[in-house]
Amino acid sequence: MIYSIKQELYKLVHRKISWIAALILFFLMLITGFALADESKKLILTLTFDSSDFIMFILVIVGATCFSMEFQNNTILTLLYKSSNKVYVYLSKYIVLFIYDVFLHLLALFYTICLRYTLFNYQVNWSELYLYHQPVWLNMLTALLIDLVTTMLIIAIVFLLSCLINSNAVVITASLLVTLMGQSISSDLMNGGKLVGIMKWNPFNMVDLTRQYANYSMYALTTQLNNQELLVGSLVYIFIFVIAGYLIFRRKRF
């Protein structure tokens, strides 16, 4: 397993997209800083210049190509026979994307601190109380940790779709649709009246976890779940989608 993870890391480190994406993240955060000049500075810091959405897009693209490149280059056969079990191939990719996800979030934290003290020079005291009667710095760290869960849910969906659909473009489009339209799809599902109690647990609802943490009053009305419930729901769906994705991968013909 460790050997498979090392191999995946080696590939990720040598892919240009991994590094270009890190640069793009910075520019998008910078643009957000200018665009949201009139918004609450504390909210901008809590959301690390809205990095969660950008990280999500990056992970969808990198995650979708994670499997498709193996099929395109015929390397999937070598990967499979060289690893002692198929599950290692699948899990190692998921773990490496998690590592990359952590890296992007740390990078977002670093960029935020740099931008806060240089270009934008916000007059915000880090220990000032903000959301949930907690200091801004804690809000920011909590939002980053929560976003790790949300993004891992998206990766689990991307992996599941990658094993179901061979077209890379379709996987990216479908994953972005889940990310961008998850909220409205979820609202439609919950229009059923009596079934709201069950339908509020649909997976599309879970992708709003980070947004709800930063803007509880607005999102809790839509999701009808509190933060803890969304967190537990997300973790359960991560587990379900990873298992389902692996079972499809296992049955796939190579």
Partner: protein, 295 residues
């Protein structure tokens, strides 16, 4: 360890859904042996190779170096190397990085780069490689880490003459050191230069499994005939149920029918211009055997 087969297939059948692609395949490969797996397109050569690598659903037993392989347990393959269908190469990595990804030992890697004369381009990104360069890199990946069994599907594809000779020498050297090979190729004359045993597959079934020396004997059991009226000769053979394969200019018949054929041709007034034992041409033998199987 020497008594353990590098590879053993016992009644292996491979499926895709309900379709059987390979039926009851049984053969073994001893350490140092070079097996030529030959057969027409779609016969099941690549399927057998994928099955050995645990990449297909199968029934029966695949044992590599004394350990069983299953679809979800590839531990037995830790000393196996393979090149299946196309070279498995990441285009965004250099040739050297592609090798580093799998290499346990740098020395081994350096030696393969030198043996296959890849030094001039090994540090370039693989996306710019020609088909032959990719093929050599794919072969090098298969030969990394001193494997005990190597499976090569059409290894000479895209290689120039010099590289072909180099690969052939490398295969022989590894085989002398005890590495077993299972090689499929359409260039039978090339395969004939290295292999020690032939496994012939047709329509998913193994129809012949013989040492090359034995295989050559088969050819001498066949005769090559030319008459002054081949068209009439064919009609007579068919009428008397004599098995033959025909070309525009000659007929190939079995040694056991020779006396009967001579009698018949004499009676019908057909002049026998030439009658020679068939030379050990692998391609012809394969064509004949397959034609016979098809009836």
């Amino acid at each position: 360890m020497k008594n353990i087969n590098a590879l053993q297939l016992d009644n292996v059948s491979t499926f895709v859904g309900k379709t059987v692609l390979v039926k009851n395949a049984t053969f073994e490969v001893k350490p140092g042996e070079i097996i030529g797996l030959i057969g027409p397109n779609g016969a099941g050569k690549t399927t057998i190779m994928k099955t050995i690598l645990g990449l297909m659903k199968f029934k029966g037993k695949v044992v590599v170096n004394g350990r069983e392989v299953s679809e979800n347990d590839h531990q037995a393959l830790d000393k196996a190397g393979a090149l299946i269908e196309h070279p498995a190469i990441y285009p965004f990595l250099t040739g050297k990085q592609n090798l580093t990804l799998y290499a346990h030992d740098q020395k081994d890697m350096v030696s393969l780069i030198s043996d296959l004369q890849m030094s001039s381009y090994i540090n370039n990104k693989a996306k710019g490689y020609s088909l032959g360069m990719k093929q050599k890199l794919g072969i090098a990946i298969a030969l990394l880490n001193q494997p005990q069994i190597v499976i090569l599907d059409e290894p000479m594809n895209g290689l120039d003459i010099e590289s072909t000779i180099r690969v052939r020498k490398l295969i022989k050297r590894y085989s002398d050191q005890g590495t077993a090979f299972l090689i499929s190729s359409h260039i039978l004359s090339e395969l004939q230069k290295v292999m020690t045993r032939v496994v012939l597959i047709s329509r998913g079934q193994i129809i012949l499994n013989k040492e090359v020396a034995e295989f050559e004997k088969i050819s001498h059991q066949k005769y090559h005939l030319t008459t002054d009226n081949n068209k009439l000769a064919k009609k007579i053979f068919a009428a008397y149920q004599i098995t033959f394969t025909a070309n525009e200019n000659y007929l190939i018949v079995s040694q056991k029918d020779i006396y009967k054929i001579q009698d018949l041709l004499f009676k019908e007034g057909i002049h026998l211009k030439e009658m020679l034992p068939l030379e050990a041409n692998l391609e012809q033998i394969v064509v004949d055997i397959l034609a016979e199987k098809r009836g």
